[in-house]
């Protein structure tokens, strides 16, 4: 990965109308990496703004009036959004705007915080994610998650990948699965000589890619990423972004990021969160604007979004 520096800076806005420009030139689609069954895909790795894919019409998540409370404090208020199949959705916003809280709702990680409570509806393929008979363990096997700080288990590289399949009762050939998974995550060549070595001996970027590989080893449908690059240097970040683009061909990805350029580079759709203070003086996170990434970064409809992306706030 050498193009970390030659990517155009999206916020500079070298292209006055990147959204239109990108859609007008579908021929720039990457020929090799693009899945053949989606010829209309106009994603190219070098454009400033990722174009939204044509709506697949398959909503994965439908979020309706979701609020999240920690004890009595309402951390996120009344979020409504629809997340579609095989798109990268970025969630951006200043610290404390509730984007990390929100992403943890999608695989019920908030269940693990004793005081957390989620109200409203999140439908996953038309199934109520918080329904009475929904098993959070089953949810998390379908909706995986990658965290801010690389958190490989203090086990070997092999055992890190094999962990998820093992606890899920995988019966096939683990060796094959590990190789296939690591290849998929573009990590195989770097670790194949040291599969039995501790995962903690890898570099931070490799550890994070290992965590992504570990997540796809259980073959989820959705991958949630909570600031996956915030602990990494630019080169490692670029590798993760490449991997995300590659994985978006099969997985639905939701990524929380502080890095607006990253959101602009990798995502198809962007949700901008901010924190408001209501009449009662209580600070809470809100979804301000949710649209195609190109539109959010070139022509946002809300003043707060524009202030944030232009660096006037946050």
């Amino acid at each position: 990965m050498t193009d970390a520096t030659d990517r155009p800076d999206p916020v500079e806005g070298t292209d006055p109308a990147p959204h239109e420009a990108a859609t007008a030139t579908p021929a720039r689609a990457r020929p090799a990496a693009t899945a053949p069954d989606r010829p209309a895909d106009s994603r190219t790795p070098r454009v400033a703004f990722r174009d939204a894919r044509p709506p697949s019409g398959v909503p994965v998540f439908e979020v309706g009036g979701v609020s999240v409370f920690y004890g009595d404090h309402e951390a996120v208020r009344d979020v409504n959004m629809t997340i579609e199949n095989r798109q990268i959705t970025a969630m951006i916003g200043p610290s404390g705007c509730g984007k990390s809280t929100m992403i943890r709702c999608f695989n019920r990680m908030n269940d693990l915080i004793p005081t957390a409570r989620v109200t409203g509806k999140i439908r996953y393929h038309n199934e109520d994610l918080y329904g009475r008979d929904v098993d959070p363990i089953e949810v998390r096997r379908r909706i995986g998650m990658v965290f801010q700080k690389p958190n490989p288990f203090p086990k070997s590289v092999y055992d890190n990948i094999a962990y998820g399949p093992r606890v899920g009762g995988f019966k096939g050939n683990l060796d094959d699965l590990v190789e296939e998974t690591l290849t998929h995550a573009a990590l195989w060549d770097e670790v194949k000589a040291g599969l039995k070595r501790s995962a903690l001996a890898l570099s931070g970027g490799q550890q994070q890619r290992l965590c992504i590989a570990r997540t796809i080893a259980v073959k989820p449908e959705v991958i949630l990423m909570d600031e996956p690059c915030s602990a990494l240097d630019p080169i490692a970040t670029a590798k993760i972004e490449d991997l995300m683009e590659h994985l978006a061909q099969e997985f639905t990805i939701i990524v929380v990021t502080h890095n607006m350029q990253q959101a602009a580079r990798v995502s198809h759709r962007t949700a901008f969160f901010t924190s408001d203070i209501d009449e009662a003086g209580v600070r809470h996170g809100r979804l301000v604007e949710y649209d195609e990434t190109a539109r959010i970064f070139s022509n946002p409809s809300d003043q707060r979004t524009e202030d944030y992306i232009s660096g006037r706030f946050g």
């Binding site: 998390r140 288990f153 501790s198 570990r214």
Partner: protein, 316 residues
């Protein structure tokens, strides 16, 4: 006690404004006091070892080490005396094993519950209560074993040949109860110290709470857990009052936990409070048995350190 310290000499003509503006004598005094505090414990240990050696050496000039370690009869104060320490060793091991059979599963179970399952509120009540158990005097445990557990065992025992009045079973059982807090509290500390990141990672892969506990938290905390168990074993081997009260004072080479038997520590206590003349062979047996006890715990500690090095998973 300070290491070699490099002092920067002010070059000729420098203004010296970086020099220490006032002497800090207090800091030196504090350092000396702290060093003395740590020295006391080290010197005590060394002193005990030194005190053990001469009488034990004299003992082994009269009794061959082979006879001591393999002999099956222990009657050093009778005539003719027998110096076979095996009955004491087997009694010690028997009581310790029974104690561990009680303390390890219950202690680790309690630790996993408190660290991984209990809500913070429950933990904040349970842990102090558990630690109170560690504060009960051991002689109380001894009489609890003798006057409550043994009669209970005799009552509920199916068949006629139940436990004797003094027996290894109730002593070991109560000793196990006594060391539960040690095992539970230290293991719980080790498990709580495992970063939440690792648990989150495991949960996000669809693990149940049990899988997170056993496959991620437990291995990561293994060194601390083994340390807790080793400390429990050390306490069990060294425990004196419970066995002196509840297991009896008769050396008995037997593998039947229902019988009374005398452990190494119980012998040392019994002989020590007797009026053995200093320098007699009977007096020296105390030191011989004490040295053996010391070596046993030392070897066990070394072995467990090795085991931990091999199997632990080091998180950052």
């Amino acid at each position: 006690m300070t290491g070699p310290r490099r002092r920067e000499r002010a070059a000729a003509g420098s203004s010296g404004f970086l020099k220490r503006s006032q002497p800090r004598h207090g800091e030196k005094v504090v350092m000396v006091l702290l060093a003395a505090a740590s020295l006391v414990s080290v010197l005590t240990t060394v002193g005990i070892v030194i005190a053990l050696i001469p009488p034990a050496a004299e003992f082994f000039q009269k009794v061959s080490f082979g006879d001591f370690i393999t002999g099956t009869e222990w009657s050093p104060l009778f005539k003719p005396p027998h110096f076979g320490v095996l009955p004491l060793v087997t009694a010690t091991l028997m009581v310790t094993v029974i104690a561990l059979l009680v303390a390890v599963p219950l202690g680790l179970g309690a630790a996993v519950y408190l660290s991984e399952y209990a809500r913070p509120r429950v933990r904040s009540v349970f842990k102090p209560v558990l630690e109170v158990l560690a504060g009960i005097p051991t002689v109380v445990y001894g009489f609890f074993a003798l006057k409550a557990v043994t009669p209970l065992l005799q009552d509920i025992w199916p068949g006629d040949d139940g436990p004797q009045v003094f027996n290894a079973l109730s002593a070991g059982f109560v000793m196990g109860i006594m060391i539960i807090p040690t095992v539970a509290s230290l293991s719980e500390d080790a498990m709580s110290a495992v970063p939440q990141d690792l648990r989150d990672g495991a949960f996000a892969l669809g693990s149940s709470r049990m899988q997170v506990s056993t496959k991620v938290v437990f291995p990561a905390a293994l060194s601390g857990i083994v340390a807790a168990v080793v400390l429990g074993i050390s306490r069990a081997i060294g425990e004196t009052m419970i066995v002196a009260v509840a297991a009896g004072g008769r050396p008995n080479l037997s593998f039947d936990p229902l019988e009374g038997m005398q452990t190494m520590t119980a012998f040392i206590a019994a002989a020590g409070i007797g009026d053995l003349p200093t320098g007699s062979t009977g007096y020296q047996t105390i030191f011989a048995v004490g040295s053996l006890l010391f070596v046993m715990t030392l070897v066990m500690n070394l072995v467990s350190i090795r085991l931990v090095r091999r199997y632990r998973e080091v998180y950052e």
